[in-house]
Symmetry: C2
């Protein structure tokens, strides 16, 4: 019995509710149950007070999706929330994979949101105005050799690079190695933006360069944006020109 | 005199107003003047009826930004609207460059939105769940040789690739050449999503592969998502696994 059940996978944006879409809020309002990692649920708690909230611990992603499917198969409308855009290193893929594995025919809709790269870019100016590569440095699920290869390729292609998960308590060296790789392709003066808690109350912004970036605080709440050969910092803004004659 | 003037560069998302953020609507409501390309202004016209609307032709981007700055220097609050995320091939970079060139101290705020890549991905499942490269095939402002190089590098790095501006009436061959380059690195069976007018009324979705992608309609309203070596299509969804054991 699942004829009325439905799953919304909802990207809630960077954190401040003002950066959620109307569609995301509508989906949460329509849902009988809201499921998500504790920290993200807290960000939107006041809009779901009367609902059944199921919050979950980090690193229980698959179980969270299985639970979501169970509720939906039982006829419930369920919102599975994810920070940023649910389709970028978020819950959308896992949820669909669980659905496919169980051969479920439950209706599912992915609601896109403002991703961390886009939010962080807006905080510092316009650094991803041209071709960019998005790379996560987390090697929990991906071989480090593949991540290294991608950093080489992104450097060689003179892409702007947005880096997710640059460093955690247990993963300290990946960002150090990544910077060394990029110095083969990019000059030391390449602009770098370090954005912590983008578009949240405790937002922190550092504009620096590839030479000095490791002098600053980088952790799991940080997104890095490393410029291409034409990016520059001026007047407190980081910009990558598209090529217009100004 | 500019002490009250302000510029909001507003990403209005893919088109359907439901995918705008609250912050984007708030900025438009706060503004004395709303400026944008005619087609985008039409999408949000009903929320700005009493304002002074300045709509503009395509390819007048620099003039549009100069006009925006003039109004703001004159003490007005101005919303410069851009489709998708204003910071991704949008108006944010040009606006900041114009501001810097004129040594203006007018207050500027970039409001991020849901970019075409994220909207298109949500339409078809979860294809950009892992590292991805975003490339525009428009060579109006960028040397084609650099675009070709980036396609090579993105292929070699086994990135998922989201392609903006794949084809226009005048640019027919770039997508043909891009596909040929990618076939050096990716198999013919690599999944490809062709999304036209993502999250608009007349949305069209095709799920195909690298071998057959050119059999389908591709134009300037289309975003392409080309998978990595692990992407797959199943049950009408395109997914790129992050690596979880499901």
């Amino acid at each position: 019995m699942n004829k009325n059940g439905k799953i919304y996978v909802v990207g809630i944006g960077p954190g401040d509710k003002k950066h959620m879409t109307f569609k995301a809020v509508e989906a949460i309002e329509k849902s009988d149950i809201v499921i998500g990692y504790k920290k993200y649920i807290e960000l939107i708690e006041d809009m779901i007070d009367s609902k059944k909230i199921v919050s979950s611990q980090m690193k229980k992603e698959v179980e969270r999706c299985e639970k979501t499917l169970e509720y939906a198969e039982d006829g419930k409308v369920v919102a599975l929330v994810s920070s940023g855009d649910a389709g970028v290193y978020g819950m959308a893929g896992i949820m669909i994979e669980v659905l496919l594995k169980k051969n479920s025919t439950v209706d599912i809709e992915v609601i896109p949101g403002v991703s961390a790269a886009n939010a962080s870019a807006a905080c510092v100016g316009a650094p991803i105005m041209h071709d960019f590569a998005t790379i996560s440095l987390s090697d929990l699920l991906t071989d480090w050799s593949l991540i290294e290869k991608r950093i080489h390729c992104a450097g060689e292609g003179d892409f702007v690079i947005t880096i997710y998960n640059p460093r955690s308590k247990k993963r300290q060296e990946q960002i150090v190695i990544s910077r060394e790789i990029l110095l083969n392709y990019k000059s030391k003066s390449t602009p770098v933006a370090i954005v912590r808690n983008a578009k949240r109350e405790d937002e922190e912004i550092v504009l620096t360069d590839l030479e000095h970036m490791l002098d600053h605080n980088i952790d799991m709440f940080t997104t890095l944006i490393i410029g291409n050969s034409k990016s520059y910092i001026k007047g407190g803004k980081m910009v990558t020109p598209r090529g217009y004659r100004i």
